[in-house]
Every structure is written in C-alpha cells, then in structure tokens.
Symmetry: C2
Subunit: 244 residues, 2 copies
Amino acid sequence: MTRRTRRPQAQPTAGTAARGVPEATVARLPLYLRALAGLAERGVATVSSDELAESAGVNSAKLRKDLSHLGSYGTRGVGYEVEYLRYQISREIGLTQDWPVVIVGIGNLGHALANYAGFASRGFRVAALVDADPSRTGEDVAGLDVRHADDLEQLVAEHRIAIGVIATPARVAQDVCDRLVTAGVTSILNFAPTLLQVPDGVDLRTVDLSIELQILAYHEQRKNGAALALTPEQAVELAEAVRG
Amino acid sequence: MTRRTRRPQAQPTAGTAARGVPEATVARLPLYLRALAGLAERGVATVSSDELAESAGVNSAKLRKDLSHLGSYGTRGVGYEVEYLRYQISREIGLTQDWPVVIVGIGNLGHALANYAGFASRGFRVAALVDADPSRTGEDVAGLDVRHADDLEQLVAEHRIAIGVIATPARVAQDVCDRLVTAGVTSILNFAPTLLQVPDGVDLRTVDLSIELQILAYHEQRKNGAALALTPEQAVELAEAVRG
DNA sequence: GGGTGTGAAGCTATTCACAGCC
DNA sequence: GGCTGTGAATAGCTTCACACCC
C-alpha cells in the first residue's frame, strides 16, 4: 500500500547499526510499544521475550528477531528492561519528536480523528483542521478552529507539517493529496476509498474501512459455505473442530 | 493480525477449483473490485490485466496470479470482461449476500462508521447500533435507533448478525468482544487500540489508527534523519534522488 | 499479434534451534 | 539455568518470462 520511496543505493549510513529495518518489522514496532506501555503502567520493570510477545500478540521468535534489527537491547538470561526498550523503540520510530499533523475533511471521520486520544499520546499533534465547506470554518473541533481549505498551504508552512491526513470524500481526495504534496507534506494517511497517486519521496498509506470488512466477509463466507457444502455429520465435526 | 482459524486438514471441498486463496490475494480482491467499479462506471466493458492492474495500483503479474487463484475468468488475447469479473470477485468475497453488521460504541468513530457509504454499497448493512451510555440510547444515528448495550445479545440473534464492529474505548473492548462472541458473532473488526483475545473459529481484524501514523513517522524520520546525518553535498544528492 | 495463465526463479518473512552470554 | 541474539531452514509472496490460446 505504501509507495516505497526509491532511493539511490542508500549511502551506508554511518553511526548506529544497520539501517534497513524490514517493513514487516516496522509495522510491528507500534504493537510492541503498546504492549510495553501496558506493562509500564502495571509497574513491570523487566520482561522476557516470551512475556512481551504474548502481550503484543506475536510469537517470541518473531519478537526477538524484530528487536535484533534495532540493536541489542536485552540481557541474556534476564530479558528486557521495559522503560529502556520502550524508549529505544520510540526513538527508532521517531516518536521522541513532535509531529504536527493536518486533518483535511472534518466530517464524521475527521471529527473522530481530531478527537482521537491515541494520536496525542504518541507524539502526534493535530495542528490544523481544514474543510472545504465554508459553513464549517470557524467551528470549534477538539479545541481547534476549523479553517477553510484555501488556507491549507499556509497552515502547512506555518506549522511545519510533514504529515497530512485525508478524511474527505473519495471524489476530492486526489486534489487534496496534490495540494498537500505541493505544500510540502511528505507523508499522507488516506482514509478515502480511492487510489491516490503520489510522487516518489512521498509516503502514502491508505486505510479503507470497507476493505477490512470485505476480508472478514470472505472468511465468514467460507465458514458458512463450507458448512453448507458438507453432510450434516461433517458439519457437526467441523463445528466441534472450530469450537476447539 | 487476524487470528487464523485452525481447522482440521480441510476437507478437500468438492465443486469449484482449489479452495485456499492466499491471504495476500484475499486482501487485494477488494482493490480489484474497487477498480472494476470505477471502470464499469466509466462504461468500460473489457480490460487487460495491464490496465486493471494500473487502476488498482498493483503490477499486472501480481494481478494475473491473484485472479488465477479464483479461476480462469479472462480471455487470452483479449482481457477480462469488466462486469463478469466484478461479479466473480464479489461472489468469491461473499458480497453477493447480505451481511448485517452491529456497531458497538457510538462515539465519533461509531458515528462515522454508521454513516459510511462504503459499507452499504458493498453489501454490508448496518443492522444495529449499540452504546453503553444510557443518555445515548434512543438517539437517531444514520436512520437507526441507538440501543442500549444490554440489548446486544438480543439484537445479534434477531438480525442474525455475524459481523461485529468495536468502536469503543480500549478499556471495555475485551468485554464487548467476549459478549459479541458469546452472542454468536464470528467475525470482529476492532478499532480499539488494544490486543483482543478471541477463541478459534472467530476472525479478528484490528485497525489501529495511530499505528498507521507511526509507520509513516518512521519513514518520515528517516527522510529527515538521513538528510541531517549527511554532508550538505550528500543532502543535495539525496534530495535530487528523492525528487526523482 | 496480443494478452492470459502459470511453472520456475527470486525475494522477503517466519520459524527453528542453539551458541553464547549473564 | 535461563534467555537473548542469530545463523540456517522453511514457508509464503512476488516477479519473471514464456507456452498457450484467442
């Protein structure tokens, strides 16, 4: 989904360990962070890879391999220090810095995103809200003035915004995307159910809510479909197996 | 993220071609469907794998391989008939049937989901809305009465709901999840940023909005970080490469 | 000629299993 | 003794390239 930024054969970046954390690992780091936050809250000071993996919902081999890409932050025979590992992962992801974000499109979803506590708690700061509907501008949402879409470029520059969130109808999403890119935004999270084109150097992730449901429906259908295609005896057997 | 349902060595399901479409393929079928819908709307009757792949944002080899898992729906030397392929994929995913859905938690996000047009247009019917806050029950959202959480089991049974959507705070998500499962729901789409436990036979997908942002932040940081670690000359070179 | 369907090759990710260190 | 970190083995996914059919 992410249009991978093409790069010249990456300068062997000096300094800390191997650059080049696998994409699959990057996608799981936030999971580990969430698990570590939970452990920290419960006052746990040290975890083994088994325990942490369980809290994160992955197996421990995968966890250890993932962490090994970041460096050697554990102690053999002991495990990982919760706060230390938490900091290291945060730093790796970049959450130790401030990320001002603009949300474009303040409909129901934009509202939800603007109020989403999970953003603020992870270094993401909703710095600006923008909507094309003049009747919406000036409205107070999550403690911010909704600004008119015309101000987009100015807001991006003013707040040094690098990340834009598109929560508009699909129809205008490409337009908004182009304007964000032109304004200097280099990472875009898109919730409009449409394919967006971005130039190299701009990262794009699209979350299509209906796609997630469709994937569930596929598996759901197979559960039922399988059952219907079976003899009653087989159906009972399957039901028992499924029930575990 | 999906807890894979463990099954007895799957009865070699009689009838149509090989069961067992790879998970990666399943996740892309909705993309093809979306692309085909766009083409159909523009009156296109036939597409080649090259054209369809472009509309869906994948390469054509992948598209052809994906489609080959469903059957042989194209014509050599010609391409695919848009409406026919669209129907076949819809059927494969299960969108030709009705999927009543319950949404639990009618905050900002629940509101957004209840009103999301992308659901209805794909066979998903929001059949019930549920919230634990008594002051919310009775409220009209998207043409439905919000019902109290106490009615959850009854609503699931009444509407034969197989898919539940959790849009509650993380704190209560496991509770809601357990109740959905007990009530008979076998597919769950979770928007609460927490790890949920479900028994075998229940499919779970979790969408964590902040995780998507974190992944973007990681890459964003590397763009800047790399630039900062370089000499000015290298930075210029990198900037040019990035710009393409 | 043109474009699908598909074996084979290549690549990425996951899992295994154990050496090495505490 | 216990648990991390990691090579080696395996599994899964993507891409190539072309036989085959329209």
